[in-house]
């Protein structure tokens, strides 16, 4: 297996569905911790881009909002404005904040890997027709935006905006919009010609893509499915409650297996990334 970006999008989607799905619907503190650590680690080593301010703010806001809004729980820490702030609510707030941030980071990594053509490939597996429509839409939407800008500039240089005032600008916007519709229809005629000229609608279509599904994609898919199943099986054996008081049930061996499986699952992309980096170092040393 290689790093996720090099795998077939379907295999990658299965992986993310497992790891983020569990993180989303489970409040078990062990799972949450693993998920948070794993998502942040992978974001750091994988192709994740962008700052962390939003994540931090979200975490803080969620963690504070929890105990402020919820007054359940038996252990009162202090009273604020006649409202009790409980230990359970504080812990529950931190846990749900962790869950949200972990899911956020899983999705940030997911979008960094899944470029538009990979997503399209996924939809294409569901329906070739849908894939074509999406592909055409992905082309048309930015095209419309650019044309709107061009039309606006052309109208301005024609002197069609009489004054710098809001009503005139609004009218101008309406004009641009209406002409954009006509232009779009006109575009559509040529595009439709080009489609039938290349035999669209003449018979059954096949669907081509540039993502082969190799042996290792199968391995990745099976591994993801197996680890997710193990985690779910393990989670059935443990019970953790936040309210009214925090309780932890006895954890049977299968529970531990579940935690281990999830630990492996969250660390999998980071490990693959590390393996790849190491491999390249070795290869370079040999050269």
């Amino acid at each position: 297996m290689q790093s996720l970006a090099h795998h077939n999008p379907a295999a990658v989607a299965v992986y993310f569905a497992g790891v983020a799905g569990i993180a989303m619907f489970c409040m078990d503190p062990v799972i949450l911790t693993l998920s948070l650590v794993g998502s942040l680690l992978y974001f750091a080593v994988g192709g994740g881009r962008g700052g962390h301010w939003f994540g931090l703010l979200l975490f803080a806001a969620m963690a504070i909002a929890g105990p402020v809004l919820s007054h359940n729980g038996v252990t009162v820490l202090f009273v604020l404005n006649h409202n009790p702030v409980t230990l359970e609510a504080v812990i529950y707030g931190v846990a749900s904040a962790g869950m949200i941030v972990a899911v956020l980071y899983w999705f940030r990594s997911f979008t960094a890997i899944m470029t538009s053509d990979k997503l399209l490939y996924l939809f294409g597996r569901l329906s070739p027709r849908l894939a074509l429509v999406l592909s055409m839409a992905l082309r048309f939407v930015p095209l419309f935006g650019r044309q709107a800008k061009k039309i606006n500039a052309a109208q301005r240089a024609l002197g069609l905006y009489k004054d710098d005032n809001l009503i005139d600008t609004f009218r101008g916007g309406l004009r641009v919009f209406s002409v954009l519709i006509t232009w779009g229809l006109e575009q559509g005629v040529v595009t439709a010609d080009s489609m039938v000229a290349r035999g669209y609608g003449a018979g059954r279509r096949t669907h081509f893509d540039i993502f082969p599904f190799g042996l290792w994609d199968g391995v990745l898919t099976l591994t993801s499915v197996a680890l997710t199943a193990l985690t779910l099986a393990g989670l059935r054996q443990v019970a953790f409650t936040y309210y009214p008081a925090i309780t932890i049930s006895h954890i049977p061996p299968l529970g531990w297996v579940g935690y281990a499986a999830y630990a492996l699952l969250v660390l999998l992309p980071t490990l693959l990334q590390g393996k790849e980096a190491l491999q390249w170092r070795c290869l370079r040393l040999k050269i």
Binding site: S116, D117, L120, P128, L132, S135, M136, L138, R139, P142, L143, Q147, K150, I151, A153, A154, Q155, R156, A157, L158, G159, L160, Y161, K162, D163, D164, R175, S178, V179, T182, W183, E186, Q187, V190, T191, D193, S194, M195, V196, A197, R198, G199, Y200, G201, A202, G203, R204, R205, T206, H207, F208, D209, I210
Partner: protein, 542 residues
């Protein structure tokens, strides 16, 4: 055996008074390269579309079309490739690889086969480097090559091209032509090319068809076809410069087609005792209509400068042409002069007043008007009459007559007609400085001449005209002065005779024909006059 035979084809659009095609007969040999010339509206597109059953227009058809010995309706779409004029609109999908595969998907080929054919074609066309790019990032020339490649993957037996280079700059157009010629030579693919831009295409073809008002008066190998056009000025003006020169000097012997043959023709038949024509002194007013000083402009902070300290002065009453390659900043310069893009350094003065002092859109009231490259962006209404009423324009104010077009939708007009209607809308603001962005794109030779006439008329009314263009022949024919923009700087300015005589590559075909033999003969007319001055039996007068 003829791959395609057309016999006595007559076609009438529903409701039309006259047929669009009349008694057209011709045949294409397998593996031949045929060029079809003719002005806009002469029926080129109608004929091409009738040969492609999926695009065939509705109407009344008599005569016979035989393709590969059968009726075209029985031939699958993949067998006849068709590439139209618009590079952008023909593309269906968002990625280059998907576009290449589109036709093969329609044919229902298995994925492996598609992969092989697409890979092969991408390698052949040299598009591996942008194989997985979004199509929106491609240049116009690349888009058109992609359109050709996505037709070629289906391995057609006949390739129909409807003015494929009309929207391209000269370099991309030459690239495209070379690719088409290469395909024709290397695979023996039969090509039928309808084209306005004949300078490169005619020397390459095996047969030249000329359509005129739906009839086919000329159908012969190019040398003979070109020689037969002596008394047809409206068809001749579209021909390569060598052909025009041949007829202008009352040519004898075989008609030259290419620049090389033109040079041989001139040196074989004429001396060069008189090397140049007396040049009229260039005069211009001293009042600048547009002045740029050290203008620097970029679109985003992290992007490089598009205009890099540009200096340019255009004087009142001048017709100035600014030439330059793709990405040299030509359109940006116009946008800056029209106040649509703000430079971060330098000064722009329009009609003697800094552009920043024009407040409240006053720049566009009796000041500046810009005719954009894509003239369709100018139109807002459903008919031409409404368009003109929209801007309070009376018909008699225009230097040309648009009344035959009043009831038509602006989008249904030909490129040349659209250009004139858009120009009319632009003129309604009564500009003193008129900016034109690629005004001759997609126009046929005859319309171009008419357009030059209109510009001259405007100039007579005291309007200053600045046009940015790729079209060297247009600039040479109409400009008072020309400038070359290179990497955001104006590197040379001069009157056309000097400007194009100095340039060795960025110059007209007439100049390339006479270069080193005559001096400053940049137009066909000048070259012809020099040839006649040097005609044998005539005493040198200089």
């Amino acid at each position: 055996m003829a791959l395609l035979a057309v016999e006595n084809l007559t076609f009438t659009y529903p409701g039309a008074a006259a047929p669009a095609l009349q008694n057209v007969s011709f045949s294409l040999e397998a593996g031949s390269f045929t060029v079809m010339a003719g002005a806009t509206g002469s029926g080129k597109s109608t004929l091409l579309r009738l040969l492609k059953k999926e695009l065939a227009p509705l109407g009344q058809l008599t005569g016979a079309i035989t393709l590969n010995g059968t009726d075209p309706a029985a031939v699958p779409a993949a067998q006849v490739g068709y590439v139209a004029q618009q590079p952008e609109q023909q593309i269906v999908t968002d990625k280059v690889w998907h576009e290449l595969a589109f036709g093969l998907e329609n044919m229902g080929l298995p994925k492996k086969e598609i992969g092989r054919r697409v890979a092969e074609m991408a390698a052949y066309f040299g598009i591996e480097a942008w194989y997985d790019r979004p199509v929106s990032e491609l240049s116009g020339g690349q888009k058109q090559l992609l359109n050709l490649a996505s037709v070629m993957v289906m391995q057609p037996g006949l390739l129909l091209l409807d003015e494929p280079t009309a929207q391209l700059d000269p370099i991309a157009a030459a690239d495209f032509m070379a690719t088409v010629h290469k395909i024709n030579r290397e695979f023996g693919l039969t090509v039928l090319l309808a084209e306005h831009r004949l300078e490169e295409a005619v020397p390459l073809c095996d047969r030249l068809l000329v359509l005129e008002n739906g009839a086919l008066p000329v159908n012969a190998p190019p040398t003979q076809a070109a020689a037969a056009l002596a008394d047809r000025p409206e068809l001749l003006c579209a021909m390569p410069s060598a052909v025009q020169l041949y007829h202008a000097v009352g040519g004898q012997g075989p008609c030259p087609l290419s620049v090389r043959q033109g040079r041989q023709f001139v040196t074989a038949h004429f001396g060069n005792a008189v090397r140049s024509l007396p040049a009229p002194p260039a005069v211009h007013s001293e009042k600048p209509a547009l002045a740029l000083q050290g203008v620097r402009l970029r679109y985003q902070r992290h992007l490089p400068d598009v205009l890099q300290g540009t200096d340019l002065t255009v004087y009142e009453g001048e017709l100035f042409c600014l030439l330059g390659g793709n990405g040299s900043g030509k359109s940006t310069l116009l946008a800056a002069a029209a106040g649509l893009a703000q430079p971060y350094m330098g000064r722009i003065a329009v009609l003697g007043k800094p552009i920043k002092q024009y407040k409240n859109q006053s720049l566009y009231r009796n000041g500046v008007a810009l005719l954009p490259q894509d003239v369709q962006t100018v139109f807002l209404r459903n008919t031409v009459a409404e368009e003109l009423a929209d801007v309070d324009l009376a018909a008699e104010e225009l230097p040309f007559d648009l009344s035959p077009l009043y009831d038509r939708h602006p989008y249904d007009l030909s490129g040349g007609e659209q250009q004139l209607v858009a120009l009319a809308k632009v003129l309604a603001a009564r500009p003193k400085l008129l900016l034109l962005d690629e005004p001759t794109k997609g126009l046929d030779a005859y319309t171009k001449q008419r357009f030059i006439g209109v510009l001259r008329q405007l100039q007579g009314q005291g309007v200053t005209v600045v046009a940015v263009t790729h079209d060297v022949a247009f600039a040479c024919a109409c400009a008072d002065r020309c400038g070359l923009l290179f990497r955001g700087q104006v590197v040379s300015v001069g009157v056309p005779a000097e400007f194009f005589a100095q340039n060795a590559f960025y110059t007209t075909a007439a100049s390339r024909i006479t270069r080193g033999y005559y001096d400053g003969a940049v137009t066909v007319e000048a070259a012809a006059r020099l040839c006649l001055l040097n005609a044998p039996g005539k005493e040198p007068t200089a």
